[in-house]
């Protein structure tokens, strides 16, 4: 069934002048990775892959989304993700508008739902939303007519980050299935970790989590992961090492005693990295805290670190997401 669907996609692609079978992604929004099928995920990854070369060219503007409006709505500060979406929209020919909802205006009493209704009245085609509360993007999506992309909601999900990580892995390793991936650090507060767990599991990788017990969420094993509390054991024979940023801004209370101690036990340096496979790929969603979760020399190791490449894949993945959702706009039942 799966093979048939992919074959159909290829046929459609051939017949339709390089177009993809967008019905493989039968959803109006992209709110999270959980629940998406491998076929849907592959569609986005395949499509994104085709944008990578284009993005490297001097003439890289398309007209696929001419006449479409993409609104970036960030309730939480962001530079990288917002810029990445902005660039993705513009490369496809869409009009992109950035709305920064400062924390002060939320404190003035406007709710997510009010903001959603206001923006909906302006008829955007895609809303790209980030919010500090889990579920807030879904709540907003229920109140609008356009497509919504979750650009991060609390500690819940950050689907485009997981997709760009997957694309990076796929291009470097040629596959995702069967790889041993270690996600290390502040799992508790990380939406990146949650989205990656769902995506990597869906695509057949094996996922390990490594962190002190205070940064591991309850019953996380039930998401299909192996949990380690020691870097050396957890990194053993891994193909991919994903480091997470310590999200001190989300920490209320005492999760670890000091940065020095954290780095000593859970920071990635060459000594700990030795336990992983010799060709293990190092990843980080950024922004990095050098000397906190990752040693500078490891982060800058051109041969092993894919950190800059992740940023590049980010634009391609977001182009694919915008294109797929716009293709589905107005289709009944999607």
């Amino acid at each position: 069934m799966l093979a048939k669907k992919t074959l159909l996609g290829v046929l459609c692609a051939l017949m339709n002048d390089g177009a993809f079978d967008f019905t493989a992604y039968p959803h109006r929004h992209l709110l999270g990775i959980e629940g998406l099928s491998p076929v849907a995920l592959s569609l986005i990854l395949d499509r994104a892959d085709s944008f990578v070369e284009l993005n490297r060219r001097h003439e890289n503007k398309l007209s696929t989304l001419t006449g479409r409006t993409v609104m970036n709505l960030f309730f939480e500060d962001s530079t990288r993700t917002r810029t990445s979406f902005e660039l993705a929209g513009k490369r496809l020919g869409a009009d992109v508008i950035n709305m920064s909802v400062s924390t002060s205006s939320i404190k003035k009493g406007e709710t997510v739902v009010d903001t959603a209704m206001t923006l909906n009245a302006m008829h955007p085609d895609v809303l790209v939303v980030r919010h500090s509360d889990a579920g807030a993007v879904k709540l907003l999506a229920e109140k609008v007519n356009c497509a919504v992309i979750n650009a991060g909601d609390g500690r819940h999900e950050h689907p485009t980050q997981a997709l760009l990580d997957a694309l990076t892995i796929r291009r470097r390793k040629g596959r995702i299935e069967g790889l041993q991936v270690a996600i290390c650090g502040d799992i508790l507060h990380s939406r990146v970790a949650r989205s990656n767990i769902h995506l990597l599991n869906a695509m057949g990788a094996r996922v390990r989590l490594i962190a002190p017990k205070t940064l591991i969420p309850a019953d996380v094993e039930r998401l299909g992961v192996e949990v380690f509390y020691e870097m050396e054991a957890g990194l053993k024979d891994c193909d991919i090492v994903m480091m997470l940023r310590l999200q001190t801004e989300r920490m209320h209370g005492s999760f670890f005693p000091s940065v020095r101690e954290y780095f000593h036990f859970f920071g990635l340096d060459y000594e700990k990295l030795e336990k992983a496979k010799p060709d293990a790929l190092i990843m980080h969603p950024g922004p990095m805290n050098r000397g906190v979760e990752i040693a500078s020399d490891v982060a800058d190791d051109i041969g092993r670190s894919a950190i800059r490449e992740q940023v590049e894949m980010g634009v391609a993945v977001r182009m694919a997401c915008l294109e797929v959702l716009c293709a589905n706009l107005g289709i009944e039942g999607v």
């Binding site: 579920g135 309850a218 209320h252």
Partner: protein, 438 residues
């Protein structure tokens, strides 16, 4: 559906006698379950029993044919929160749920930490002429957990027991003093068992669902921790302790053990904790955000066990009305609580329909049980007692519909749930205050 509020101002009319005939008579206090009838005279029950009215009905009595349906003492709901001071809306919701007596939490505005507020609550409820409302007094002034309120005086004014609403007494020394002082006067302390530091910032029960949803969580440990602390303190002080809405397996085990040790401790739970689990939150349904939070399936089953073996003494609705604006928010920001008076009977009857307890046992959990706990003259059929009655169809199926509720707030965690057991008529002090329109 509709209510028939009887303005007490015009209540000078002669009530006369009413004969409730052809009823399945249920009295949880005595275990009576037989076909029979009730005769009311004015505001009180003048006679009742099996085989009543089989030969004749007093000529001057108004006859109400119960058509074989269940006639029982009106329900006693030992835990509701008032929304503002709108006793009419609250009253309508209560009587539509068959509740004739309710006890309200002190976390009103102003807080019930002063005798005048106790009197106001009682008077406002009487004026609305619907459900009888008794207040809890605040344990500490302003519910701040620091200074003990005038519990002795509040009790004289009519506070039936003491509670700090949905906050536990954080400080062990304060709790010790509270128990010691209350035991001087034989007053009951009702604790909301949730350690504030463990619950801080939490939006739901800790576990797989919270991890998946990325929501900050409250470990279930927060409940048993306070229960064990308070039990320890009460062993020392001899105070009369009650735990409200217990929801975890470990809590129930701790209370069961304390009861076996002979301590005078009691507890209640609320319908969500034996009929729902954390799965009801689904995709961030804020109507399922409660305090304490909905727990795991294992806990839900343990609550049922606690009801079956008598560890849990009563079921309260935990009625907490919330405005739409307090619920239509991202989950972590949304207010806790659900309305529950209109579903109290039907959800409690699920325990009967599912074969866990008998009908008499279920009724005692929501009438004579809580009435006895609080020393209220309610919840039983007795000659000379107030004629507070509920007539219900134990089998009638219906579907909970938030929009159809009588309460102004529609935040029910049971929306769209098919249930069995429907209130047909509610009588308070001999007057019919609710009748289900067919």
């Amino acid at each position: 559906m509709g209510t028939k509020p009887t303005p007490t101002e015009n209540a000078k009319e002669v009530l006369g006698r009413s004969a409730f005939v052809n009823a399945r008579l249920l009295d949880p206090a005595t275990g009576l379950d037989a076909m029979g009838g009730v005769l009311t005279d004015g505001e009180v029950i003048s006679d009742f029993g099996p085989q009543m009215f089989t030969d004749s009905v007093p000529e001057d009595a108004k006859v109400i044919d119960c058509k074989g349906k269940c006639l029982a003492p009106g329900l006693v709901d030992m835990r509701i929160a008032m929304s503002g001071s709108d006793f009419t809306t609250t009253g309508k919701a209560a009587v539509a749920g068959g509740i004739t007596t309710a006890v309200c939490l002190p976390n009103t505005n102003p807080v019930i930490d002063d005798g005048s507020v106790v009197e106001f609550v009682a008077r406002a409820a009487r004026k609305a002429g619907l459900v009888k409302v008794y207040p809890y007094g605040a344990i500490t002034k302003g519910l701040e957990g620091v200074e003990i309120s005038e519990m002795g005086l509040l009790a004289e004014f009519g506070a039936v027991a003491f509670s700090d609403g949905n906050t536990a007494i954080r400080d062990a020394q304060t709790m010790r003093q509270v128990l010691l002082y209350a035991s001087t006067f034989g007053l009951m302390i009702m604790e909301h068992p949730e350690d504030p530091s463990l619950a801080k910032g939490g939006a739901m029960n800790e576990g797989e669902t919270a991890t998946r949803l990325g929501l900050p969580a409250i470990p279930k440990l927060a409940e048993v921790l306070i229960i064990e602390r308070d039990l320890r303190l009460a062993r020392d002080t001899g105070g009369r302790l009650h735990f409200s809405h217990v929801s975890t397996k470990e809590s129930i085990e701790a209370i069961r053990q304390a009861k076996m040790d002979g301590m005078s401790v009691t507890c209640d739970t609320a319908p969500p904790y034996f009929s729902l689990n954390e799965g009801a939150i689904g995709d961030y349904r804020t109507f399922a955000k409660l305090s304490p939070p909905l727990r795991s399936e294992e806990d839900r089953v343990a609550v049922i066990e606690g009801i079956k073996d008598g560890t849990i003494d009563a079921i309260a609705s935990d009625h907490t009305p919330r405005h739409e604006d307090e619920k239509r928010l991202p989950f972590a920001q949304a207010a806790t609580g659900g309305v529950g008076m209109e579903t109290l009977l039907a959800i409690t009857l699920e325990l009967v329909h599912n074969g866990h307890i008998s009908l008499i046992e279920a009724l005692s959990m929501v009438s004579s049980g809580p009435a006895d706990l609080l020393g209220l003259n309610a919840g039983r059929l007795k000659k000379g007692a107030p004629a507070d009655l509920v007539l219900f169809d134990v089998d009638k199926g219906w579907k909970v519909d938030g929009d159809q509720l009588h309460s102004k707030a529609k935040n029910t965690p049971f929306d769209e749930r098919p249930v069995q057991g429907r209130v047909l008529r509610t009588v308070i002090d001999g007057r019919t205050v609710f009748e289900l329109n067919s």
